[in-house]
């Protein structure tokens, strides 16, 4: 289809190198030469509204963040599958309703998944009392 595959992606690489050079130049060279370096223990202390810090900053996180990431991956893969379909959708529709039906089945199956996690309360950030009681049960 296109004879320019590598050159177009090489352009991306060139752009990346230009941007990276800018970052390195400013942060690691120019600013490093200009800024003062006067380290002091108090200055380096962690900011916690002027109070001495309590406990470790690396606290344990709630499982809800993990749930969100799990649900995200499934839908991320779905978008990745939808993408090649979307770009050929119009062309294939000319040949009949198959492309449409096949994709509707695909989306419907995943919509079932969304409905499931929704109904089970996995998408609720603040869990209701019912959901909390429901947790132990499958």
């Amino acid at each position: 289809m296109s004879p320019t595959f590598y050159s177009e992606y090489a352009n991306v690489l060139i752009f990346f190198l230009v941007g990276a050079a800018f970052v390195v130049l400013n942060v690691a060279v120019v600013s490093r030469l200009l800024r003062p370096h006067t380290a002091e223990a108090n200055k380096d202390s962690t900011y916690e509204c002027g109070e001495p810090t309590v406990g470790s900053a690396w606290v344990r996180f709630d499982i809800r963040f993990y749930t969100v990431a799990l649900v995200f991956i499934v839908f991320d893969v779905e978008v990745a599958f939808l993408y090649p379909w979307a770009v050929v959708f119009q062309r294939l529709s000319g040949a009949g309703p198959f492309a449409l039906l096949e994709m509707l089945i695909f989306v419907a199956i995943l919509a079932v998944g969304l409905v499931y996690v929704w109904a089970k309360g996995d998408l609720d950030w603040v869990k209701s009392m019912d959901a909390q009681a429901d947790r132990a049960r499958p």
């Binding site: 289809m1 344990r60 649900v71 090649p84 492309a99 996690v117 947790r135």
Partner: protein
């Protein structure tokens, strides 16, 4: 002697980007730093896919592995309870020493060699003609909706099962952990 063209140069650059951070993942002890190095390793593999002419696969690699799986790993790391406050490192107790190191090393090398031999002798490598490859997204769309329609629909079922299973496990976790 072969001339060093841009393609070969790019291959070695991406290969190094894939392998060197992967090695750093192995030797570093901080779990979050492992995730950081994994980011570059995944990016290196994405670059190799580009070189093979699979641009859509490369972007999907970035989108799913870097954009999704790695976030999941990070959250997983942040979920783990650390033994003593600030230390996010892995316990050193499990590290092999002495004769254990030898046994494990030989086993690992043997298995790796077996795998490499199997891949090398059994895989019918597809060889692409020289020249510029075509963009792949539209071709993939055509194939998914014609020749590979069954795997495509099965994929959605697999995703559904994964979603339901994952949600179920996550929901039960607090009761069993506490």
């Amino acid at each position: 002697m072969r001339t060093l063209d841009y393609g070969t140069l790019a291959f070695w650059a991406f290969a190094a980007t894939a392998v060197v951070p992967a090695f750093l993942v192995l030797v570093t002890r901080d779990v979050v730093r492992m995730a950081f190095w994994l980011l570059f390793s995944f990016a290196g593999f994405a670059g190799l896919y580009f070189l093979l002419g699979a641009d859509f696969l490369a972007l999907t690699q970035v989108m799913v592995y870097i954009g999704g799986i790695l976030i999941l790993i990070l959250f997983g790391v942040m979920l783990t309870r650390r033994r003593d406050g600030g230390d996010s490192g892995i316990a050193r107790d499990g590290a092999p020493r002495g004769s254990g190191l030898v046994v494990q090393g030989v086993t690992a090398a043997g298995l790796l060699g077996l795998l490499a031999a199997a891949v090398h002798t059994r895989t019918p490598w597809a060889v692409r003609e020289a020249g510029e490859p075509a963009y792949t997204a539209a071709g993939l769309g055509d194939l998914l909706l014609t020749d590979f329609i069954l795997p495509f629909e099965v994929a959605s079922v697999v995703l559904l099962v994964a979603l339901v299973g994952a949600a179920y496990i996550v929901r039960r976790e607090p009761e069993e952990g506490e």
